[in-house]
Symmetry: C2
Subunit: 597 residues, 2 copies
């Protein structure tokens, strides 16, 4: 079977045609180059979230207007973005993780829907809202990560279940929020639950039948974490034997966190997948001495075998919940003047990292928000941050409240993905501008119970009253190009286009378009609810469309989403974002925009 | 205090200014003549839902586009419409009946919100979704009818509670879904619960302090129903003593229904309010012999005293649940060639009635849907319908299934209000085209338990596959002018404007604009969810705006709203409307439209 999905699809009408068991890698590689479609949540394997479409551009974007809308029927936080394949759009919702196939030829009429029945007991073990970041497509299947850790493959034509794989156990606090990624003949998925002591892992399931192909843990023995002590490197050097185990006290690694709930990327030429691992558990650093490897780490792995080629730990012995899960954007750019196969990563810890994605060499590590104060800099030889003792939550010991740490636990950026424009060479980063007080306390592990061990309060940096910025970043030099202040964190994912514009959403609910070169605001529209979804684009009937989910929630909006009112609830977010409810209410609506005829 | 609210309001900026204890009648009379505002759910006292605005007209309406949107944070059916007073919009939601004051100068930012805590046990006693049809305004207050029968007056500036009056008891099945109406110094409210044996009443509360001024029952002794046996007339004749009591067996009137949950209207010159009463309880006609007066009746009452001037019972001894609650539209029109102070009423029973609103004289009674078959005609001398025995559910007796009765229980029209254009002279009526099988069964009364006593199935008329039409009607002759077929019932309220267009929403979620003269579709937009709200219009910053709530539900959408699946559930609606979930999902979003700059 010739694996040209695009031509298969174009042969169909409203409904996706099955083209048989094609090699998904070839299909997806081709499909993601077609700007008329949006075949993966990240836009492409490189996570660039860039479209070559320019029908909507900086001159005419002021005329943009909603073309049609669709309520998912679910409230709470709507992260992620729909897919468009042919004339069908696939829209997902937060728990209960409904999936709708919508007919683009008919204003989004429902072709099929998948409404899984899940045990609602999974909700209390989802730390930061009942979010889901979207579905993947490959080989005629739509792949869904359910909150209850069922990975489900649906027939893209009919919505019928093709296979199902159980990836974890919610009774242990294991849940799923991230989107799967299809690479070659496999589906790559992560796991959530860092606040419940869940040991992180990445798992590959066969795209054809859902059988597990491999699983690589984040922490633990070398065979479980799939490293070769001699060949797997960090900062250019072999990591050696028991690289993870020896950085933990006793058996603590078994509940050690390092969950894997961020976005994944893939370099087909290097045949490497990239992702980051989350915080070590518990959040009380006093309780778990050591570097806690490989939490807070960028992994580069072979998708066929799962073996790690290189690693880089950004925040050894995390004391602030600076999860390293944020996406890796792959781009070939000049770095310090030299053309480089770069990997660019905006970490929760407030540093923007540029690495050589082939070797894992650290090239740039600079603060992408001036308020970042927990570390002065990253030592470019060791790769370690130089921690400021005043802001070390470990240094004060348990039950000591360390104040004015910037950024807060939800980082200078969290899950909200950045975009890259090859046209401008800039990265466009939705950021948080939030600081915190952090008080660690002793906690003991019970499966399925919160294993947080810290009380937090969050607020803007001193002298500021805005909780976020949307910035353009030069990853070759580590400098902010421009920065737009936003009243709240920008918790939505960005989209850059060849129309010289960048789109993002705001927590108050605005979809905004700004000039890619200057950041000047060119358009805004108030969608029904706060936006924490990611902007995407496609073409239908010759017209470029822009789509985004609104539905306030996520960690920043957890107070509204879960109805919490105590300021330190929501792991400290409730207090910081309490004013949000003056701007928007809960929702769950897709808005599709285009230019007037 | 000079009671010119409009000038008071215009003196303010975003926030309504208090102008003291003015006479609300004068205020409202003036305010409702200002097309820039929309000060009552019905548009005006006459219930015409007509605007003299013409900036948006039949030539440019094709360019209409959403200007901003607002999610109410609540799912399920959103009936009613927001108010606009000055630069503030007041938006309500279904249970829990949140009210939001939105700043029109700032894309709907929330000025205040009122989020009542109500016992969720009221939900199961709401027969036909947890709807609410909107708030009223008068004397600086926003009046809300809560589901739990609390009538609440809020300070329009601050949202703070001014007074609260308890109008019923949900434990007896008494709930509130309708909008209050402010007349002079009183707030007029009804009661819901006809499916629970609730005896209907209309109650006037003092606008100033919430104290009850009068209450008029629908059924019962003369003093309770506030009639004068000599002066209150039907068909021009005094109704006589015990006009209600003698049409009931024994004490059945005490649980006799005749609830009052429709729209109210008012003629300031005649000083009469008009409203209709609902079905007699139970739905099993065999169980309650007699005419069951004054269920199914149009009442004309003095708003100062509550006394009835005239009555007209449309469906004596109801056998089909043809509630008479649908709105009375007051219009001065030629009837059979003679200029008339008319009252026009599109009844659930499928007849469009034109009466002299001063005398209650019946002038026209014609079918406004050709499928209506339960009666051949209305006898213009007696005012009684000529029932076709084949479709009498009483005639077959209990446990006999009578088939193919048209219309179904939800009528040729239900709560969805019609509009009238003085410019065309036509009435624009959102209709249902649904028939039913009806099987009465014996039921005994228990307070707070369903007292329905009939099993129903619903479906389109034979040979048809569409469940609704949107029609233009000549009330002077009783003829359909034009009729647009719609796939589902048109459960949304219409708006007619001087732009020669009529707006309405569809259950799939389209806001539509059609040519007032011909019905030709000029514009449609797919809102997030099915529309059962009413379209309204106002002006902001010199631009005409059109607004409508989407959020599928109501009786027609009860299957989706309440998650029911058995075909006869939802009093028969679930089966008829089951295809609706292929078009839309639950939502709760206000969409505001305007022309591009």
């Amino acid at each position: 079977m010739n694996a040209n999905w695009r031509s298969c699809l174009l042969a169909g009408t409203a409904v996706v045609l099955s083209c048989g068991g094609a090699a998904a890698n070839d299909e997806l590689l081709k499909l993601q180059k077609d700007p008329n479609q949006w075949v993966m949540p990240t836009g492409d394997y490189a996570n660039q979230r860039y479209s070559t479409l320019s029908q909507i551009n900086k001159d005419n974007v002021k005329n943009l207007r909603p073309a049609w809308t669709f309520s998912t029927g679910v409230l709470r936080g709507h992260e992620g973005a729909p897919l468009v394949i042919g004339n069908v759009m696939y829209v997902h919702s937060p728990f209960p993780n409904n999936v709708y196939a919508l007919d683009l030829n008919n204003n989004g009429q429902i072709i099929w829907k998948y409404e899984p029945k899940q045990d609602p007991n999974v909700i209390p073990v989802m730390c930061c809202d009942t979010v889901n970041r979207g579905v993947a497509f490959g080989d005629g299947k739509i792949i869904l990560n359910q909150a209850d850790t069922n990975v489900v493959a649906l027939d893209a034509k009919t919505g019928k279940e093709v296979w199902k794989a159980l990836n974890g156990d919610p009774k242990k606090g294991e849940t799923m929020t991230s989107a799967p990624m299809v690479v070659k003949d496999k589906v790559i998925v992560g796991i959530s639950g860092g606040e419940f002591g869940v040991p992180g892992h990445v798992t590959a399931y066969n795209l054809s039948d859902g059988k597990m192909a491999w699983r690589a843990m984040s922490v633990g023995p070398d065979d479980q974490i799939k490293v070769d002590p001699e060949k797997t490197t960090e900062m250019g050097k072999p990591i050696g034997k028991d690289s993870s185990l020896k950085t933990w006290q006793g058996d603590q690694w078994k509940t050690g966190g390092g969950t894997t709930w961020g976005w994944y990327s893939y370099d087909p030429q290097l045949n490497l997948i990239y992702y980051g691992t989350g915080n070590p558990s518990t959040w009380n650093p006093v309780q778990r001495p050591g570097d806690n490897k490989w939490s807070m780490t960028i992994f580069a792995r072979d998708p066929d075998t799962g073996m790690a080629k290189w690693v880089y730990q950004m925040t050894p012995h995390d004391e602030w919940d600076y999860d390293g899960v944020n996406e890796m954007i792959l781009a070939d750019i000049p770095v310090r003047g030299q053309q480089t196969k770069a990997l660019v990563h905006f970490d929760r810890n407030g540093f923007g990292y540029t690495l050589n994605r082939e070797t894992g060499a650290l090239l740039v590590a600079e603060k992408y928000d001036p308020s970042v104060n927990w570390a002065t800099k990253v030592d470019m030889t060791t790769g370690r941050p130089e921690v400021v003792k005043q802001y070390s939550t470990h240094a004060g010991g348990e039950d000591k409240n360390t104040q004015n740490i910037c950024p807060a636990a939800l980082g200078t950026k969290d899950q909200q993905p950045a975009a890259f424009s090859p046209k401008t060479g800039h990265f466009y980063v939705p950021t948080n501008q939030v600081c915190m007080d952090y008080e660690p306390f002793k906690v003991s592990y019970t499966a399925g119970q919160p294993y947080v061990g810290a009380t937090l309060s969050m607020y803007p940096p001193q002298g500021k009253n805005n909780l976020g910025n949307f910035i353009a970043w030069d990853a070759g030099t580590g400098k902010i190009v421009w920065s737009n202040a936003e009243p709240f964190s920008v918790w939505s994912g960005a989209l850059a286009t060849a129309g010289d514009i960048v789109f993002y959403g705001t927590l108050e609910g605005y979809l905004k378009a700004v000039d890619a070169a200057t950041g000047k605001e060119l358009y805004k529209f108030k969608t029904p609810s706060g936006i924490i979804g990611n902007v995407m684009t496609y073409v239908h009937n010759g017209k470029q469309q822009i789509a985004v989910l609104s539905g306030v929630g996520g960690w920043a909006g957890i107070g509204m989403a879960a109805g919490l009112t105590k300021e330190t609830d929501g792991l400290g977010a409730v207090g910081a974002y309490k004013a949000l409810s003056n701007y928007t209410q809960l929702g769950g609506v897709l808005t599709v925009f285009s230019l007037p005829d």
